[in-house]
């Protein structure tokens, strides 16, 4: 049983710039019941005239972390994201409810290889999974060998760069830059395709748990390719997001 989902006023305790367009909000949510890696929260903004705007944002922090971290990518035309990414400051309040969702979640209790495929800010819920795994003991980590394939437009758009670099010791991290890459870039330079998934992913015969998150067209194309490569549709969990701003 899960308790009724009420709106709570969280407090912004810190903000961190991740990229020129993405910022992490660290929230303290009163009576936060804890979350699972991959879950999201709803955010509600209410204007003085009563007009409300509501959005969903994935949780980036590990379940082991008592605060709730959201990484917001600013969409220029957006109604909510510019407020969250430019205006909110430590000490401000923000209405949230959650955690929400149980389909797109992973825990180290799910033994077996793990493949994470991110498009753009689709990295956020997958980062919660990676952070969760990092905090597990050595046995659990050995039971869940992990590979991440992360597609971003440019090097500047890559979120959590430093942390991903450190993860490299314990999980395989592969980046692909689709629009523009630094001159000395030795990663992939194209959209995720069948050959890339074959090269980077686990063979379907190893029955990996697969999580794909990104914009709808990205997520659907990757999921289709994975099923063509022999992965059971039920093993390929997807979360699509759109530019709600």
């Amino acid at each position: 049983m899960t308790p009724r989902l009420d709106w709570r006023v969280s407090k912004v305790v810190d903000v961190r710039d991740e990229t020129p367009r993405a910022r992490t909000l660290v929230l303290e949510v009163p009576e936060w019941p804890g979350h699972r890696a991959g879950q999201h929260v709803d955010i509600r903004l209410v204007a003085e005239d009563g007009y409300q705007a509501q959005r969903s944002y994935s949780i980036a922090s590990a379940p082991e972390n008592p605060s709730v971290e959201l990484t917001i990518e600013r969409l220029a035309e957006g109604e909510v994201s510019p407020y969250l990414s430019d205006v909110l400051r430590p000490g401000d309040g923000l209405e949230v409810r959650g955690p929400i969702g149980g389909y797109f979640v992973w825990s180290t209790a799910q033994a077996g290889p793990l493949l994470l495929v991110a498009g753009g800010s689709g990295i956020v819920p997958l980062m919660a999974m990676l952070r969760h795994r990092t905090r597990a003991d050595e046995t659990r980590r050995a039971e869940t060998p992990t590979r991440l394939l992360y597609s971003a437009r440019t090097w500047d758009d890559v979120i959590y760069k430093e942390e991903l670099k450190q993860l490299g010791a314990d999980a395989e991290v592969h980046l692909t830059l689709t629009r523009d890459a630094p001159a000395d870039w030795n990663g992939f330079r194209r959209r995720v395709d069948r050959a890339m998934l074959q090269e980077v992913g686990w063979p379907a015969s190893e029955l990996p748990n697969v999580y794909v998150c990104g914009p709808t067209p990205f997520t659907e194309s990757v999921a289709t390719l994975l099923v063509e490569l022999g992965h059971a549709p039920a093993m390929v969990r997807t979360e699509r997001f759109g530019p709600t701003g």
Binding site: M1, T2, P3, R4, L5, H40, D42, A53, Q54, S56, R97, G98, I100, G101, G102, Y103, F104, T216, R237, T238, E239, R240, F241, G242, P243, T244
Partner: protein
């Protein structure tokens, strides 16, 4: 905007005490069984429509109007929700 059933999680928690995104929904149109979280969804500010990816039936429609939550479940013939 096209998303998936995960995006309906918050609204569905207004209806169910359990998390419905993990629930298996049987499509009233074709009998296909899929988790709510995996269904294609069309979302707007007002609400969300979940569709069957096989036969395109509207499995579930939820809309919020002032003071009312409106729900059409006619596209679901059976729902199994894990406790």
């Amino acid at each position: 905007m096209r998303l998936d059933g995960n995006a309906a999680g918050g609204m569905l928690r207004d209806l169910f005490t359990l998390d419905a995104t993990t629930a298996d929904a049987t499509c009233a149109g074709c009998g296909g069984v899929r988790p709510i979280g995996a269904l294609p969804a069309y979302a707007s500010d007002m609400g969300i429509i979940l569709r069957c990816p096989s036969c395109d039936v509207a499995i579930l429609r939820v809309a919020r109007t002032p003071g009312r939550l409106r729900v059409d479940f006619s596209g679901v013939s059976f729902l199994t929700i894990p406790e």
